[in-house]
């Protein structure tokens, strides 16, 4: 097969109305894609069409529009099933976010299985959303939450913890791509070993889903979580993938309409839950959100994961190289140049907040702070970093603008 044609960001930007006003105002150099991405017309229009053309309650109505709305909702589930290579649509639960998905597994699956003395492992680089839920359940059950620590160049140091795959390990939760280091973890091999040892693994794919092709069957994970809003989809909706047997053994986090079969009076007996995945979708389903989510997956597939991945990797490497050329700037520890769309850095004399502020006012959107990864920043001995993160609509001019902004900041703070 010949090389696919590279992404042309100028053409891609035309799909995104946020960039359309550019002539009237300052050009937007949006480099905060790890926080959230912009939305193409296709996604915005899909959501609007749900409300304007075919809107009704889901799973309940007997009239044609309700049947159509339900089938649009379930069709979205199938689109996402194929997007992540799941065996069945019943393995996909719509949640309100990656955060909710992870909380569901911690509270609904692990909690009832965890005992005093058990160990749960996370990596040192987890986002708070893939850390705090495990911390709480471990605290409650007097289990231990332990870190897979990092090597000096910011990789998970798997060799130094032979006990990872042995008793009393009960669960491993790991991010696919770090939202600070940009490093990509070897989740497939980790999951394979864990499965041999009977240890379930949750993969946090929030940062990988937009530029790596996911295949949960090949990856061999037990659970996987991500949000639509970081992959060009709407806010307020996310996904939990769970292998069928795992979901079957999970208690619902929320109870309410739509997730129950038969409801008893009083508290003597238990009400009986509906089948999976309805059991985990209490309340009125967010059909327009699901449809917008599926439209985003379709959009990403139409660009091609391969092409998207290359484009982002090339930009990230270029940004890293140019940043390293500036006196006073340090990149966070890394083995190879970061390729996952994320470059975090600090400046010897300029606080990240001031850096981001000056950049922001020059139309360059970068992030400053601990990026919801306090355990990692503490380990690195840092209070905050600046972070630039790239997507399909970015190009070299965004990097130029970033470098210019850093130079302005130096002019303000280092004279």
């Amino acid at each position: 097969m010949s090389d696919p044609e590279p992404i042309n960001p100028e053409v891609v930007r035309r799909d995104f109305p946020i960039f359309a006003g550019a002539s009237h105002r300052q050009r937007l150099h949006y480099l905060d894609n790890a926080a959230t991405t912009h939305k193409p017309d296709k996604v915005i229009n899909a959501i609007a069409a749900c409300y304007a053309q075919c809107y009704a309650p889901i799973h309940r109505g007997l009239y044609p529009m309700a049947e159509q709305a339900t089938s649009n909702y379930e069709h979205a589930r199938r689109v996402l099933q194929h997007f992540i290579g799941a065996a069945s649509p019943d393995e996909l639960v719509f949640t309100s976010s990656a955060t909710e998905a992870i909380n569901m597994v911690a509270s609904g699956w692990l909690r009832q299985r965890l005992q005093s003395g058990d160990v749960v492992w996370v990596s040192r680089m987890e986002h708070h959303s893939n850390y705090l839920p495990w911390q709480r359940v471990c605290h409650e059950k007097q289990a231990q939450l332990r870190f897979i620590e990092l090597t000096e160049d910011g990789q998970m140091d798997l060799d130094r913890i032979p006990e990872l795959f042995a008793e009393p390990t009960k669960f491993i939760a790991i991010t696919h791509v770090s939202n600070v280091l940009g490093v990509q973890n070897p989740v497939a091999s980790l999951c394979a070993t864990a499965r041999e040892c009977g240890i379930p693994v949750l993969v946090d794919a929030a940062q990988s889903v937009s530029h790596l092709e996911l295949d949960v069957s090949a990856m061999c994970c037990d659970f996987l979580a991500f949000s639509a809003h970081k992959m060009f989809g709407p806010t307020g909706i996310g996904l939990l993938y769970g292998r069928q047997d795992r979901l079957a053994g999970m208690e619902p986090l929320q109870l309410g309409g739509g997730m129950v079969d038969s409801v008893v009076d009083g508290t003597s007996a238990a009400s009986s839950w509906a089948k999976v995945p309805s059991r985990f979708e209490a309340g009125s389903p967010d059909m327009p959100g699901a449809v917008g989510f599926a439209a985003a997956a379709d959009y990403l597939s139409s660009l091609g994961h391969e092409r998207v991945g290359r484009h982002i990797a090339a930009l990230t490497r270029l940004a890293a190289e140019r940043l390293m050329g500036i006196n006073g700037i340090s990149l966070l520890p890394h083995a190879e140049l970061p390729a996952s769309g994320i470059v975090s850095f600090t400046h010897r004399y300029i606080h990240p907040h001031d850096m981001a502020q000056v950049a922001g006012e020059a139309g360059v959107a970068i992030r400053a702070g601990h990026h919801c990864a306090q355990p990692l920043l503490r380990h690195l001995g840092l209070a905050a970093t600046a972070r630039a993160s790239f997507s399909v609509y970015n190009d070299e001019s965004d990097i130029d603008a970033l470098i210019d902004a850093i130079i302005s900041a130096q002019r303000i703070f280092c004279e």
Binding site: P352, H353, V358, E361, L377, A384
Partner: protein, 146 residues
């Protein structure tokens, strides 16, 4: 509003040459209190030296962004010589002025603090300004209850 407007000369000058800053733990103060913004890791320690119900001197120590450092430095100048009561009132005014931009009316701030006004437009930076003021209020309360 550009970065130049936000980082006014006065503010930058305080950042580059902070007044009453210590590199070591603040000694012999009547009260020392710390404020931290865990969201960005900034930390400020404020020590107050009292005399006859007045603030004789304020020293600070800590790390933070330009706005945080400048605010602390300006604070030490703004309250030196004020009565404890009016200092406490000033802390409350700063809190109201920066903490709730939709609600608060413009308070009467000493001229020496006007350079901070531009930060009001930047919700995300309000905590940077307030960190030292909150520590100061805390220190006054501590001294009063001692």
């Amino acid at each position: 509003m550009t970065a130049q407007d936000l980082y006014k000369e006065t503010l930058l000058e305080h950042y580059r040459h902070p007044r009453n800053r210590c590199d070591r733990p603040i000694q012999e103060a009547d009260a020392v209190e710390r404020g931290a913004n865990p969201r960005c890791g900034d930390e400020i320690e404020i020590g107050i030296f009292l005399q006859d119900e007045k603030i004789r001197q304020v020293k600070f120590r800590g790390r933070g962004c330009a706005i945080c450092i400048a605010s602390a430095s300006m604070l030490t100048e703004a309250v030196a010589g004020l009565s404890v009561a009016s200092t406490r009132r000033l802390c409350d005014q700063m809190h109201a002025w920066f903490g709730d931009i939709e609600a608060a009316a413009e308070p009467l701030l000493p001229d020496s603090l006007q350079a901070l006004a531009a930060v009001r437009e930047h919700r995300a930076r309000q905590k940077c300004v307030l960190l030292s003021w909150e520590a100061l209020a805390h220190a006054i309360d501590t001294a009063a209850s001692a």
